[in-house]
C-alpha cells in the first residue's frame, strides 16, 4: 500500500481559510445570540442554545464557503481528452435492482450508440440484483431486445446474482472478482444514468494521462424533471451545482468525492483497496456499509490513489426525485448510510480529510436535529426566564427597563438568511457576468428562477427538517430502514397521499404553535415561518408534485437536449409502444409495458 497523497499548499490554504471563516461567522452569530440571551439572566438553556447556534451556523457558513470557493472560474489548463493508442480495455457497469427494464435498457441502447459513435471501444455489463422473478424475466426479455437493436452480442452483457450480498457495492465487487481482470477502466453508472460516448472518451483519456488517478467523478446534470419540486431541484443542480462542485474540488484536492455513479475507476486501484468488509453488529450501524461510495473514495485515498471530481466534464446525466416524498425516502436511506459512518471515523490509516468528509456527511443529517433542538431550547429559555426586575435596588426612584435586544436577534436572523441566500445571489451574478445565465433563459429569467428556488426551499425547509429529524431519530434508536430500490418516475401526488405522509407534521406544527402562543406569546411571530409550512405540509407535498410549465427553472438541457438524451427519448418512445409479440413468448407483452 502506498502512502496517501499529501494535499498541495493551495488546497491546504483554501481549507484553512474556509474553516477559519466558518468558525468566525459562527462566533459572531453566537455572540449576537448570547448578548440577547443574557439580558434576562443566564440559565442552562442559554448555554444550550448558544452552543447549538455555534454549531448550526458553522455548518451553514461551511456550505457558503464551498460556494464562494467555487465562484472564481477555473484557469484554463491543458487537458488531455484524446485516448492514447492502443485503447485501454474499458467497461461500462450498470448495476440495476428492480428497475423498469424498458427505460433502463433504452438508456443503455442510447449510450451504446453514442459510445460507438465516439470511437470508444468499451463493453457494457448490466449487473442485475433484481429479486422479483417476474421483473427479472422482463429484464431478460428487454436484454434480448437490446441485443437485437444494437447488435451488441459479445459486447453488451447481462448477469443476475442470486445472492444480493453487499447490495450495489457487492454487485460491483462480484463483477470485479469475476471479470475485473479483463478491463483497465470501469465507468460506474446508476440505472437512471445517461452518459455521452464522448464523455466516456474524455474520462478514459484523463485516467490514461494521470497514472495516480484512481477515480474521476463527473457532476451529473439532472434531466427529465416535470414537477415543481423536480424542476426546482433540476435547476438548482444545473445552476448552483457546478460552482459548489468547483469549490469542493478545490477544497478536497486529491481526496475528492465518489457519489456512487457517473464516475470512472481504475479497476486495479479499486480492486486492491475497495473490498468493503461487513461491520460488526446489526444494522443500522453494523452489517453492510450502505453509503459505500464515500468509503470507497476514502479507501482509494488511503491506498495512495488520487480521487478527483471535475464538474466541467459535460455529457453526464441522471434523473432526480419528482416529489417531496420520493426525496424524503431517498434521504432516509442516505441518512442511515451517513450515520453509519460514525463507526468509520476512527478507521485505521484514513487521511484526516477523509475523516472530515465522513463528519460532514454525518453532520448533514444531525444538523436538522440540532436546529430543532435550538428552537426547543429557545422556547424553554423564554418560558423559564425570570420576570424583569424593574427595581433592582430598593432605593431606586425610577424603574430600570430591561434593554431591548431585538436588534441582535434581527441581525442574527438576517445573517443566517444571508448565509443561505448570498451564495446563490453571488452565483447568479457570476453567471450573468460570464454569460452562463443565457442557457437558463437569460439574466432576468435565471434571477427569477433563483428567487423562486430560494422561496420554495425556504417554504419546504421545515417539512424537510421534520422528515430528516425523524430519520435521524429512527436510525439512532436502532431502526433499520433497509435500502429499498429507487422508485423512479413517480410524479403527481394527491392531497390524500400528501395527508397520509404529512399529517403528522401538521399535528406537530399545530401543537408547537398552540403551546408557544400560550406559554411564550412573544415568540409566536418568530415561529410562524416554521410552523405555517408545517401546518400546510399535506398541501405542500401535493402542490410541489404538480407539473410546472417550462417558463420557470429553465435549464440549458431543456432547450438543447444532448444527443444521447434525444436518442434515449426516441428509443423509449419506440419501446413503450404496445407491439405485437415479437418473440412469440408469453413475456413479450410484459416487457413492453409503457411507462
Amino acid at each position: 500500500m502506498r502512502a496517501p497523497l499529501s494535499p498541495d499548499r493551495r488546497t491546504v490554504l483554501i481549507r484553512t481559510i474556509a474553516l477559519v471563516m466558518s468558525f468566525l461567522t459562527a462566533l459572531v452569530a453566537t455572540v449576537l445570540l448570547a448578548e440577547a440571551a443574557i439580558q434576562d439572566g443566564i440559565d442552562v438553556w442559554d448555554f444550550v442554545r448558544t452552543g447549538l447556534i455555534l454549531i448550526t451556523t458553522a455548518w451553514l457558513a461551511w456550505g457558503a464557503s464551498l460556494a464562494f470557493t467555487g465562484l472564481a472560474p477555473s484557469r484554463r489548463r491543458d487537458t488531455v481528452d484524446e485516448i492514447r493508442a492502443p485503447q485501454p480495455s474499458s467497461v461500462v457497469l450498470v448495476p440495476i435492482c428492480n428497475e423498469d427494464p424498458v427505460s433502463t435498457f433504452a438508456r443503455i441502447a442510447a449510450m451504446d450508440a453514442s459510445i460507438r459513435e465516439a470511437g470508444v471501444i468499451a463493453d457494457i455489463a448490466i449487473l442485475s440484483d433484481t429479486r422479483d422473478e417476474a421483473a427479472a424475466l422482463r429484464e431478460r426479455h428487454a436484454y434480448v431486445r437490446l441485443l437485437e437493436r444494437t447488435g451488441g452480442t459479445g459486447r453488451i452483457f447481462y448477469r443476475r446474482r442470486e445472492d444480493n450480498r453487499g447490495r450495489k457495492a457487492g454487485n460491483i465487487e462480484d463483477f470485479i472478482r469475476r471479470s475485473g481482470g479483463a478491463y483497465e477502466f470501469a465507468v460506474i453508472l446508476d440505472a437512471d444514468s445517461l452518459m455521452e460516448g464522448a464523455t466516456i472518451r474524455t474520462m478514459i483519456a484523463r485516467m490514461q494521462a494521470d497514472p495516480q488517478l484512481g477515480l474521476l467523478q463527473t457532476l451529473p446534470r439532472i434531466i427529465g424533471a416535470r414537477s415543481l419540486f423536480g424542476r426546482a431541484m433540476q435547476f438548482a443542480a444545473a445552476f448552483h451545482g457546478p460552482v459548489f462542485t468547483r469549490g469542493l474540488a478545490r477544497m478536497q484536492g486529491h481526496t475528492g468525492p465518489f457519489w456512487g455513479h457517473n464516475a470512472i475507476v481504475r479497476l486495479r486501484a479499486f480492486a486492491e483497496s475497495c473490498a468493503l468488509p461487513e461491520l460488526s453488529g446489526k444494522p443500522p450501524f453494523g452489517g453492510h456499509i450502505l453509503s459505500h461510495d464515500y468509503v470507497e473514495a476514502a479507501l482509494l485515498a488511503r491506498a495512495g490513489w488520487s480521487v478527483k471530481v471535475d464538474g466541467t466534464i459535460g455529457g453526464s446525466f441522471e434523473e432526480g426525485p419528482e416529489n417531496l416524498l420520493s426525496y424524503a425516502r431517498r434521504d432516509r436511506r442516505w441518512c442511515q448510510g451517513n450515520l453509519q459512518h460514525i463507526r468509520l471515523l476512527a478507521a485505521p490509516g484514513l487521511s484526516g480529510w477523509s475523516r472530515f468528509v465522513f463528519l460532514q456527511g454525518i453532520f448533514a443529517y444531525l444538523v436538522s436535529l440540532l436546529w430543532a433542538g435550538f428552537m426547543i431550547a429557545s422556547i424553554i429559555a423564554t418560558i423559564t426566564a425570570p420576570l424583569p426586575d424593574y427595581f433592582p435596588e430598593a432605593h431606586n426612584l425610577f424603574p430600570v427597563f430591561p434593554s431591548d435586544r431585538s436588534k441582535e436577534i434581527t441581525a442574527l436572523v438576517v445573517g443566517i438568511a444571508g448565509l443561505l441566500v448570498l451564495p446563490k445571489v453571488a452565483i447568479w451574478l457570476g453567471a450573468s457576468l460570464s454569460g452562463r445565465a443565457r442557457g437558463f433563459g437569460g439574466m432576468l429569467r435565471a434571477g427569477a428562477s433563483v428567487l423562486a428556488e430560494v422561496a420554495l426551499t425556504s417554504v419546504i425547509a421545515p417539512v424537510m427538517l421534520m422528515y430528516q429529524s425523524r430519520a435521524v431519530l429512527q436510525v439512532l434508536s436502532g431502526r433499520d430502514g433497509g435500502w429499498p430500490a429507487n422508485q423512479r418516475g413517480e410524479g403527481r401526488l394527491s392531497l390524500l397521499e400528501g395527508a397520509q405522509a404529512g399529517l403528522w407534521i401538521s399535528a406537530v406544527g399545530a401543537v408547537a404553535l398552540l403551546l408557544v402562543a400560550r406559554v411564550a406569546p412573544d415568540l409566536t411571530l418568530w415561529l410562524l415561518p416554521v410552523c405555517v409550512p408545517m401546518l400546510a405540509a399535506p398541501v405542500l407535498i401535493m402542490l410541489t408534485s404538480r407539473r410546472l410549465a417550462r417558463s420557470l427553472f429553465t435549464t440549458p438541457d431543456e432547450g438543447a437536449p444532448a444527443p444521447v438524451v434525444q436518442r434515449y427519448e426516441a428509443i423509449l418512445a419506440e419501446w413503450s409502444q404496445p407491439v405485437a409479440q415479437t418473440t412469440g413468448n408469453s413475456v413479450s407483452g410484459a416487457a413492453d409495458v409503457a411507462l
Binding site: 431478460r140 426479455h141 436484454y143 452480442t153 448477469r159 445472492d163 481482470g181 418473440t583 412469440g584
Partner: protein
C-alpha cells in the same frame, strides 16, 4: 456467487445461450479491507455500551 442463467424461452435462448451474455471470466483479487480497529479505545467501548443500553428505551 452463482448466477441465474436460465433462458427465458426458446426464441430468446438462441441469443442468450451463446455464452456472450455473461461478462468474460478474468478474475481480479479484492483483498478485504480493515475498517474497524481491533481494540476500540476504552472511551468508545464505554459509549457503545451506554448507547446499547439506551437505544431500546428510546425505541420504546
Amino acid at each position: 456467487m452463482s448466477m441465474d442463467m436460465t433462458p427465458i424461452d426458446t426464441a430468446s435462448a438462441e441469443i442468450i445461450e451463446t455464452a456472450h451474455w455473461a461478462p468474460p471470466v478474468a478474475p481480479l483479487d479484492m483483498p478485504a479491507q480493515v475498517l474497524e480497529r481491533r481494540a476500540a479505545p476504552i472511551a468508545a467501548r464505554g459509549l457503545s455500551r451506554l448507547w446499547l443500553s439506551l437505544a431500546p428505551r428510546l425505541r420504546a
